[in-house]
């Protein structure tokens, strides 16, 4: 029981990170109907930017932890947003309206580029850091097994919920959110009604990349070790989460992220750590066969 509770806490934390990445996939897919393969790598770039900012701030002599973390988060989100914008501008915009496979190949190319760019510039070795927020609270101690809820886990859940609240407000209440929803429903019609669709798509990539950078920031702090390859697997799992929740649906992405996180953690705890990725991918296959629109997705009507 205590063991299961601990796994639940870990699973929710991991699920929050996947959920944040999944939001970026689902937004882009909803609007232009392509898998942004490079999104997982933007997440990886975000965690590297956080690492550099943390080390840089420490070198500058900023010792206040909350200030350093806030600055790091802002810096990583801002630069990652610039990466998102550049990726869209360079690799996807020239191919808009082109045939279906071209943007996908271009996205795969961009993913390889980002991965190897970071490998070349920062080295292939893993980057470990010390725990920035150590400690936590002990929820209960039964039969010699203590259930720990670390400050870091609380911070991850709080930051994710805050960011998602801001994001939900952005999508539902602001003019930008309205144009985004309009583009998602019908890109051509939105353009006819005077919406600058190119700008809206750019902003979608910018927001998605910033969210991925927040996820990368939390990944770095939670695990304390990153390398240039983390984006690939995390990216596929986040996409799985987006599909599971119903692609195009924002609450679905978070829900799917939580589910994937929980499945992965419980599978590792009770079955085998080696096959945890197999479990996550099998869920994807099963979900697509029995629930092709996802949990919260809309059924697609095919017009002939």
């Amino acid at each position: 029981m205590a063991y299961a509770l601990q796994q639940l806490i870990n699973g929710v934390t991991l699920g929050m990170i996947y959920g944040l990445i999944a939001v970026g996939y689902t937004m882009v897919y909803g609007i232009i109907g392509m898998i942004n393969f490079a999104h997982g790598d933007v997440f990886m770039v975000g965690s590297f930017l956080s690492l550099i900012a943390l080390l840089g701030l420490a070198a500058l002599g900023i010792t206040s932890v909350p200030l350093a973390l806030a600055l790091t988060l802002l810096f990583a989100a801002a630069i990652a947003a610039l990466y998102g914008w550049t990726v869209e501008r360079v690799a996807y915009r020239p191919l808009r309206g082109s045939f279906r496979l071209a943007p996908l190949i271009s996205a795969i190319g961009m993913s390889i580029t980002l991965q190897n760019f970071v490998q070349v510039s920062q080295g292939a070795r893993v980057k470990p850091i010390d725990a920035v927020i150590p400690g936590g609270i002990q929820l209960m101690d039964r039969g010699g097994f203590a259930v720990q809820l670390s400050w870091m886990q609380i911070a991850i859940v709080v930051i994710t919920l805050t960011i998602l609240a801001i994001f939900t407000w952005l999508v539902t209440r602001t003019p930008l959110g309205r144009t985004m929803r309009a583009c998602e429903q019908d890109l051509k019609m939105a353009a006819l009604l005077g919406i600058d669709t190119d700008r809206t798509i750019s902003l979608t990539f910018v927001i998605g990349a910033a969210l991925a950078a927040v996820a990368g920031f939390m990944f770095l702090l939670y695990y304390g070790v990153i390398d240039f390859y983390i984006g690939f697997i995390a990216g596929i799992k986040a996409f799985t989460a987006a599909v599971l929740g119903g692609i195009g649906s924002l609450p679905g992405a978070v829900l799917g992220g939580l589910l994937i996180g929980l499945i992965e953690v419980f599978w590792s705890a009770y079955f085998s750590v080696e096959y945890k990725d197999v479990a996550a991918f099998s869920i994807l296959v099963i979900a697509l066969i029995f629930l092709p629109t996802g949990i919260l997705g809309r059924a697609e009507v095919e017009k002939v």
């Binding site: 109907g33 392509m34 898998i35 590297f48 930017l49 690492l51 550099i52 080390l55 840089g56 810096f75 630069i79 610039l82 550049t86 360079v90 690799a91 020239p94 191919l95 082109s98 045939f99 279906r100 496979l101 071209a102 943007p103 996908l104 190949i105 271009s106 795969i108 190319g109 390889i112 580029t113 991965q115 190897n116 970071v118 490998q119 070349v120 510039s121 920062q122 070795r125 980057k127 470990p128 850091i129 010390d130 690939f232 697997i233 596929i236 996409f239 799985t240 599909v243 080696e274 096959y275 990725d277 197999v278 991918f281 099998s282 994807l284 296959v285 697509l288 066969i289 095919e302 002939v304």
Partner: protein, 441 residues
């Protein structure tokens, strides 16, 4: 916006992008990570972006309509030239071992392996229009089938080759069943997940596959029972023909094996295209609903495409295992799937010649680039370049990724984008690329 101003803005964006990642490098030392500044490298990258943007802007003087027309003219030229290019390529492929250079034969073998994989995937993606991102799984199944059968039961290459193909085809059908209902990107992501699952299982099922250490000592193929060993006994190739045993004989033999396998793949897919099955594939790519209305069995059509495509992947895998004599899960990563898919798409989806040309450009180009980079590394002995030179081979994949993006932007429909219909009433007319659907899975 004037070009200068545009380039200046690009340079500022590049500064924002590269400032933190290139300009500040984290290195591990005794007391954890430390951070160093690299202003010169950053300045070089930003300067390159500035000049590159200026060059692009001045080169892109022509209008879009002109560009489209030039593209179409190029496509027509290359299709017309296809009649002469194909025999020339074939003769060159057959004659390559007579150069006697081991380097070129090895490179040729590598290129031919990718051509074969490309032609195999072409059946799935190009003809049937099913987007498969996990093709490497069948390559792995073929390689491991041969390796395990050969090392456990002592079977030879030619006995195992059909078995490897059949096993891979069975896996293809097994994967095909659950994903029959999926389309487009969903299909892509499921096949990608399937490829990863196979790789994870190969890594972790140590008792069968020896895990990450891989399988060693995989036997080499024989020529009608004649082995290519160095002892020169009567049962060996050299002993039978009374010549000095040399390593190059085996290399050349392997080259002709893969050439034969690749040509077999090509021949089978060309023949299949003329059969009702192949025409059903192409019809499926164009419009699935129309196919169903016309009474084509969509399920069987998709499964045969998956199965036959996977079979050729399995053949190529068995060849890979026998050529390397060593396999490990590391050879079967997503990057291989991406490379093969890129070859098919760059080749023009469905064009046999296009796939061959694309494989030569991408694999040969990549190898040529590697040579060029290491040559550059050898030449630059000066201290400034010593650091860059040692890292140069690392840039290979970076350039590969950028090349994928650039090629897609310049030629989104591939090198040979027009289609020649398999069957025509009177004269065969080229179909313009704009009229060919790409399938939605």
């Amino acid at each position: 916006m004037t070009p200068l101003r545009d380039a200046f803005l690009s340079a500022i964006v590049a500064l924002g992008l590269c400032g933190p990642l290139v300009g500040l490098v984290t290195t591990s030392g005794d007391r954890g990570l430390s951070i160093h500044a690299r202003p010169i490298a950053t300045a070089v990258v930003v300067g390159l972006v500035f000049l590159g943007r200026l060059a692009i802007l001045s080169w892109r003087g022509r209008t879009r309509a002109e560009a489209v027309q030039a593209n179409r003219a190029f496509a027509e030229r290359i299709t017309r030239a296809g009649k002469y290019v194909t025999p020339v390529l074939l003769v060159a492929a057959v004659a390559l071992p007579f150069t006697g250079s081991r380097y070129y034969i090895d490179l040729g073998t590598l290129v031919l392996t990718y051509i074969m994989l490309g032609w195999g995937l072409n059946i799935v993606v190009g003809l049937a229009g099913l987007l498969d991102l996990g093709y490497v799984a069948f390559y792995a199944v073929g390689a491991y089938s041969y390796a395990i059968l050969a090392t456990t039961f002592g079977l030879g290459f030619w006995t195992c080759l059909p078995m490897a193909g059949i096993l891979a085809a069975m896996w293809g059908v097994m994967l095909g069943f659950p994903v029959l209902r999926l389309r487009g990107d969903y299909l892509a992501i499921v096949t990608l997940a399937f490829g990863e699952i196979i790789r994870i299982v190969l890594t972790n099922w140590v008792s069968l596959t020896n895990g990450p250490n891989g399988i060693t000592g995989i036997p080499r193929p024989t020529l009608f029972g004649l082995a290519f060993s160095m002892d020169g006994g009567s049962g060996t190739f050299a002993g039978f023909f009374n010549i000095e045993p040399e390593v190059i004989q085996r290399i050349i033999f392997l080259y002709y094996v893969i050439l034969g396998l690749a040509l077999l793949t090509n021949w089978v897919s060309l023949r299949l295209r003329r059969l009702p099955l192949g025409r059903a594939w192409e019809a499926l790519r164009e419009d699935e609903i129309a196919c169903r209305s016309l009474g084509i069995n969509v399920r069987n059509t998709k499964l045969t495409a998956f199965g036959i495509g996977a079979m050729f992947g399995g053949f190529a895998g068995a060849f890979f295992a026998t050529r390397q004599a060593f396999i490990s899960p590391e050879s079967f990563t997503f990057i291989e799937s991406a490379t093969v898919l890129a070859i098919v798409v760059l080749g023009g989806l469905g064009s046999q010649l296009g796939v061959a040309l694309a494989a030569v450009v991408m694999i040969g180009g990549l190898e040529a680039l590697r040579d060029f980079l290491s040559f550059l590394g050898d030449q630059m002995n000066s201290e400034v370049f010593a650091g860059i030179a040692s890292e140069l081979p690392l840039y290979r994949m970076l350039i590969f990724g950028l090349a994928l993006v650039v090629m897609m932007i310049l030629r989104p429909r591939g090198l040979v984008s027009g289609r020649t219909p398999s069957v025509a009433l009177t004269t065969v007319k080229e179909i313009a690329p704009d009229l060919v659907a790409q399938g939605r899975g």
